[in-house]
């Protein structure tokens, strides 16, 4: 496919790596915000190719991880109803609520379907007028516009058997929350490129200035990430803290006005609970008053359920780079990729899972390689 290989070119990557190696003079800790970036970093082994002084802290930008337990439980309750077709992106199906996940609801006879676009769910609603079709609308500013568009379309077309279970979250309040944490070690951010392609960059200069951190808008392919790191290291070494766009092929300063207008119309900013963190003010979206009838929480009157998080898990500290995964007492004993306590152990790109795999490969030192092959 075009536009994939071009951004994975090993020679260009080596050139960027050489420049980063030549620029860095002391340790820096930067956080990549988006789970997609973390995935790419692990998938291509980018973290092993960077200088030892450059530490990437994997941030909270995985929508699957931050969706709060009570929302998952609401999803499970709604999906269990015989009159409901529950539609979701695939990776939400394995996320457990209290005692079970959507796969199990499906196994127990619930009509749970994986879709690739919320508009597919709307089509299912049109085709099944006697069913209630619910789409699980989670994610950051990236997935919010198509979900908004779907609700907009449902209203416009008069499709009344469709609703959205909303748990959307916003990046800038999360960055602020991280920087306000007293134990914060993060010195710079690789901002999530696709979030910025929707929202633009206007929300970031104030954060960069207030917390004195460089914020570099970064893409997802290996060359994009290396370019983001290169510019971030450059700013840190020079003592600067500005917002820089290293992903201009997708991100314009003003973002995507049509998508923003759609968000404005359908959603309103609200306080939102993040799994394991608690509520961050203004950090989410919910359906606005005029679309409230499409809100699955209202339609199905699902009550809230209290959260029980495993006490042994220290992924909060891992995510901030305060401890290394193996310093957690549960690491590798009660917590493994097959039986994880926290999200950082769940997927291969999770900090703990990656560490676990590389430890099996030959100890923590195997995580970094001294002589990368170009």
């Amino acid at each position: 496919m075009k536009y994939i290989e071009e951004f994975q070119d090993p020679r260009l990557a080596q050139r960027l790596l050489d420049e980063i190696h030549a620029t860095v003079t002391r340790p820096w800790a930067m956080m990549e915000v988006c789970g997609g970036q973390t995935h790419s970093i692990i998938r291509h082994g980018i973290d092993q190719l960077l200088p030892d002084q450059v530490e990437l802290i994997h941030g909270p930008g995985c929508p699957v991880c931050v969706t709060p337990l009570e929302v998952i439980d609401k999803a499970l309750e709604i999906a269990s109803r015989p009159d409901v077709v529950f539609c979701s992106f695939g990776d939400m199906l394995r996320v457990p609520g209290t005692g079970r996940d959507l796969f199990q609801v499906k196994g127990e006879g619930g009509d749970v379907r994986v879709v690739y676009s919320p508009l597919d769910a709307l089509r299912i609603a049109q085709q099944n007028p006697d069913k209630q079709v619910v789409f699980f609308g989670i994610g950051f500013e990236t997935t919010a516009p198509p979900n908004a568009m779907t609700v907009y379309q449902a209203r416009k077309l008069g499709i009344r058997n469709f609703s959205l279970l909303v748990s959307h979250v916003r990046v800038p309040p999360a960055i602020e929350a991280i920087m306000r944490s007293p134990s914060c070690r993060v010195q710079a951010f690789l901002a999530a490129g696709h979030v910025c392609s929707v929202m633009g960059t206007a929300e970031y200069p104030e954060l960069a200035e207030r917390f004195k951190v460089p914020i570099v808008v970064t893409g997802f392919e290996p060359l994009d990430i290396l370019e983001g790191v290169r510019r971030t290291v450059g700013q840190l070494e020079r003592g600067e803290h500005t917002v820089d766009n290293a992903y201009p092929r997708a991100v314009r300063p003003e973002g995507n006005p049509a998508a923003k207008a759609m968000l404005q119309d359908v959603f309103e900013v609200t306080d939102r609970a993040w799994r394991g963190i608690g509520t961050i003010p203004d950090s989410g979206w919910r359906l606005s008053e005029r679309y409230r009838e499409y809100d699955a929480e209202h339609r199905f009157a699902v009550g809230s359920i209290t959260t029980e998080e495993p006490a042994a898990c220290r992924s909060g500290e891992v995510l901030q780079g305060l401890i290394k995964p193996h310093e957690c007492e549960a690491f590798g004993t009660v917590c493994t990729p097959r039986n994880p306590l926290g999200a950082t152990m769940v997927s291969n790109e999770g900090a703990c899972a990656a560490y676990y795999l590389y430890r099996r490969l030959g100890g923590p030192t195997a995580h970094k390689e001294t002589s990368p092959v170009g």
Partner: protein, 356 residues
Amino acid sequence: MAETIQAAPDLTAWTCPAPLRDQPKVVMGHGGGGVMSAELVREVFAPAFGGRILSQLGDSAALTLGGVRLAFSTDSFVVRPLFFPGGSIGDLAVNGTVNDLVMSGAKAAYLSCGFILEEGVETRVVAKVADALGAAARAADVEVVTGDTKVVEAGHGDGVYLNTAGIGLIPEGVDIAPQRAVPGDVVIVSGAIGVHGVAIMSVREGLEFGVEIVSDCAPLGGLVATMLEATSDLHVLRDPTRGGLAAALNEIAAAAGVGVEIQESAVPVPPEVDGACAMLGLDPLYVANEGKLVAFVPRQHADAVLAAMRSHPLGAGAAVIGECVEAHPAMVVARTGLGGTRVVDLPIGEQLPRIC
């Protein structure tokens, strides 16, 4: 917005969701060919059945009966849709079992075939499946010699389910098994990976990728025979179906207690598969194949085997992708295009499209 925050949230209490381990009920992941499938076999089936031969857990069982060495295997097929670009459930039912047999070096000979039909399915469709199955058997040079038909009530099936079992003769001097992989072996795949899985996804999910992707479903007996002509000393053959190349390599690494190291850039992935996987957030190494094999070959025979494979139409795209190593036993490690490494782990259940 800044003024409304009363106190910084306590990030040290941050925990995240974890998949459930002890499922009281079967979920789709148990059929995914990954960790969950293996657990079901190890914890439920193997203890119930016992037996030394079963415990080898190869693609097919190698038996000695009346002084004759036989390969014996069975497979069930629940694919939807029944017909897809490049094949049908009938083709899969023949080639799936035939390929399991030939991965032990056997010459596949006879198949059984069970039809489980859902009440209401059109007989025309059943006939079409049967025709496809018969044609596939002839193409694979095997004969369907016994069968069975059952009908389940409407709503209790998905049109047509098939089961086939097959037997074949293992030639004298041939000993191909996952346990035989040794450090130094060269790892070869017979061609482009990920094609079948993406072809099925494109029709099942109604995804359009600009070009039609046709399943690679094919019987591999001829290709294996050609390889055995180059040397009878093939160590391991495996057809990387469910769970893809990643699952096949992990199973071999675990069975033999060896490490496997592959060069990611050497793995043949067609651009359309790469594109579809990039779009869906899937990894081609984990996508199913139905007409490919991966071979572990002693280094001294690797060139001859590779040349033999490339001389066969089903091995024209064969490529050396890596080697068997002493380091990191039971693990598969990929060297990435950029020169980093990543661990290619056994999938847990089904590979799920990623949201981000």
